[in-house]
Amino acid sequence: MYKSSLDILMFNCLYSQDEFDLKPAMLQRSVVLKVNGSVPQQKKLSDIATGIRQRVLAHSLKNNGGYMSQACSSAELLSCIYGGLVNLPELDTPMLPGEFAGTPGLDGLNRTTGIDFHGGRHADMDRLVNSPAHYALVIYAAMIETGRLAEDALDHFNKDGSTVEMIGAEHSPGFETTTGSLSQAISQAAGIALARRTRHETGNTWVFMSDGEFQEGQTWEALQAASFYGLNKLKVIVDVNAAQCDGPMDQVMTIEPLQTRVESFGWKVARVDGHDTDAIFAAGSIESDQPLMILCYTDGTRGLPLLQERYPVLHYLRFTSDQEKSKYEQAYEEMTR
């Protein structure tokens, strides 16, 4: 059922969880970005991914905690999302995160959302709805790496009165919806895609999701509806890191076999190595009259093997001793060398 080149892609990407063997050296895809100013520069996606991990690790060290494993698993796929896979309008200069103005209210009160960091609404451009709000720290890091968010934005992370919240909400940079209660973004993105279709807009509507969200019934309701309405401009990219708060998903509540499940709901599904940016871009270019889902199988310790010592509890990194912290400080120095 796939085109020949895609067959190869699929073949290459059928591996089990312990077969992550791609070397970072393979990741040479690059993107032209206006990072830290208006002078365009070439930046390798692999450097963006490394930068994401570094920023999240530095932040975790400084604050004695952070969503580190999510950075390890999603660094490459977020480097793709913000590095050209999703066709977002460029910003002239990285934006400063604002102060929290107040909760939204009637008559247009406080309706500003983090969409501004994505370049706003344009009929012929893509939209990106970030679903897993717990990835906020990683998403902020990705936006800093790609010139959308100011360099020092993480200094405001989880600080009182800041919009750079720990669990991103719609006023937070890069967030358009409030989806800390997981799985609600995909339905809203389907609504956005349906509305855009009524206006004959040509841009895609993308959703970044985490695999845990496939435990929620709403996700499947949304898949059902997107398929029913043939929303082929709705594209979902998933970090399948097989981990959740309570531990490995196959011990908490398995969602596998995810590919066949989603395919059976009428979606076009590509299953790729989530650390292979070429594979992710190839999957993103699949033409289909169905909605598209890219399942990025990832390793929650990629780029920071030290995390394997904490397996299977990877959801949140908080150092248990000074000794452990110093090991991570050492890992950070190696990462930035």
Partner: protein, 337 residues
């Protein structure tokens, strides 16, 4: 007493009203004809979205559409708009204060569908949600004019709508007005606040009570939230012998509670009698049967006023018994529910 009976006041009125409002779209959850929008679907097929029995997703899709400038009008039974998808209602719609209209049918005990179909605590649940506006229709004129009231609100609106054979109590040229009660009779001994179908029930008893020399100030309220109409506040803080509320809802958290809050805040020392469902579930039976069983009727009103006055009004139960009760198998309904 009898009123003009209007068959399906919502059906054609909503079609006509929508003609010059291209932003208005309808979403349904497998109850299209039961909610009188089957003909609307045929009139505006491009603006009609069948979402199937998947309310969590339906509310999310509506939120996404509203963010794109459409005005979704969700039509289903009231229970399915706030019970199952309460988190979606709160996080996807109410928090961002989106222009989504939740048109809920079968309020309270108006269906023999039993506990699963009877929205007896919707006011209690929804009054606690910030940004919500809550409207309840009491007759055919309000079933028609509620559309303009809701349309003008830049935020989410929940409507308790009536269907099938509906009495026209209020003149057609006196439309519903947001947060403005209708003063139906004046008197200084008892203040009576009624809403929804209980207004018609009360109107049957009031002439008999007045004939006993009792002065009743009767207000019909159709805006349940906000609940700060100065006329209502004045009336419920000025009754000589006490206040009575009558609602097709639990006595917990609805109109009676809203009135109690105002009385307490204004230092009123009058007694309050709340007529409603007394903190119990209902069951599958006719409206007439349930109204009698649960005390949602004119007899309860007479008893409450007798208690406040400390004397009998000598009104025979048989005199009150001439109720108009809708036939369960009315041809104005799509099914017997």
């Amino acid at each position: 007493m009898s009123y003009e009976i209007v068959a399906r006041p919502h059906q054609q009125n909503f079609i006509d009203w929508s003609a010059d409002k291209p932003e208005v779209v309808v979403l349904t959850a497998d109850l299209t004809n039961s909610c009188e929008v089957g003909k609307w679907r045929d009139a505006y097929p491009d603006r009609y979205f069948s979402m199937g029995m998947a309310e969590q997703n339906m509310l999310g899709v509506a939120a996404g559409m509203a963010r794109e400038g459409l005005e979704p009008w969700l039509h289903t039974f009231a229970v399915f708009l706030y019970r199952r998808p309460l988190d979606q209602l709160q996080m996807s719609i109410a928090y961002p204060a989106l222009k989504v209209r939740l048109v809920g049918f079968l309020p309270g005990i108006m269906t023999p569908g039993g506990v699963t179909h009877q929205a007896i605590e919707d006011f209690a649940v929804l009054r606690a949600i910030p940004n919500m506006t809550i409207l309840e229709v009491g007759d055919a004129t309000e079933a028609e004019s509620v559309l303009d009231v809701a349309h003008a609100i830049d935020g989410p609106v929940y409507i308790r709508q009536l269907r099938g054979e509906v009495s026209r109590i209020f003149p057609q040229d006196e439309p519903m007005v947001l947060n403005r009660a209708r003063l139906l009779s004046t008197g200084d001994e008892i203040t009576l606040v009624t809403s929804g179908i209980m207004t018609e029930e009360a109107l049957r008893a009031i002439p008999l009570i007045q004939a006993q020399g009792v002065g009743i100030q009767h207000l019909h309220v159709s805006t349940i939230k906000p609940f700060n109409d100065p006329e209502v506040i004045r009336a419920i803080t000025s009754a000589k012998h006490g206040v009575v509320t009558m609602e097709n809802h639990s006595i917990v958290g609805g109109v009676g509670s809203a009135v109690a809050e105002i009385m307490a805040e204004h230092g009123s020392t009058s007694p309050l009698k709340r007529i409603g469902i007394r903190d119990t579930y209902a069951h599958g039976a006719s409206q007439k049967h349930l109204m009698a069983e649960l005390g949602l009727n004119a007899q309860s009103l007479v008893s409450a006023i007798e208690q406040l006055l400390g004397r009998s009004l000598n009104i025979e139960p048989a005199t009150l018994a001439a109720a108009r009760v809708v036939d369960v198998h009315s041809s104005a309904k799509a099914e017997a529910l």
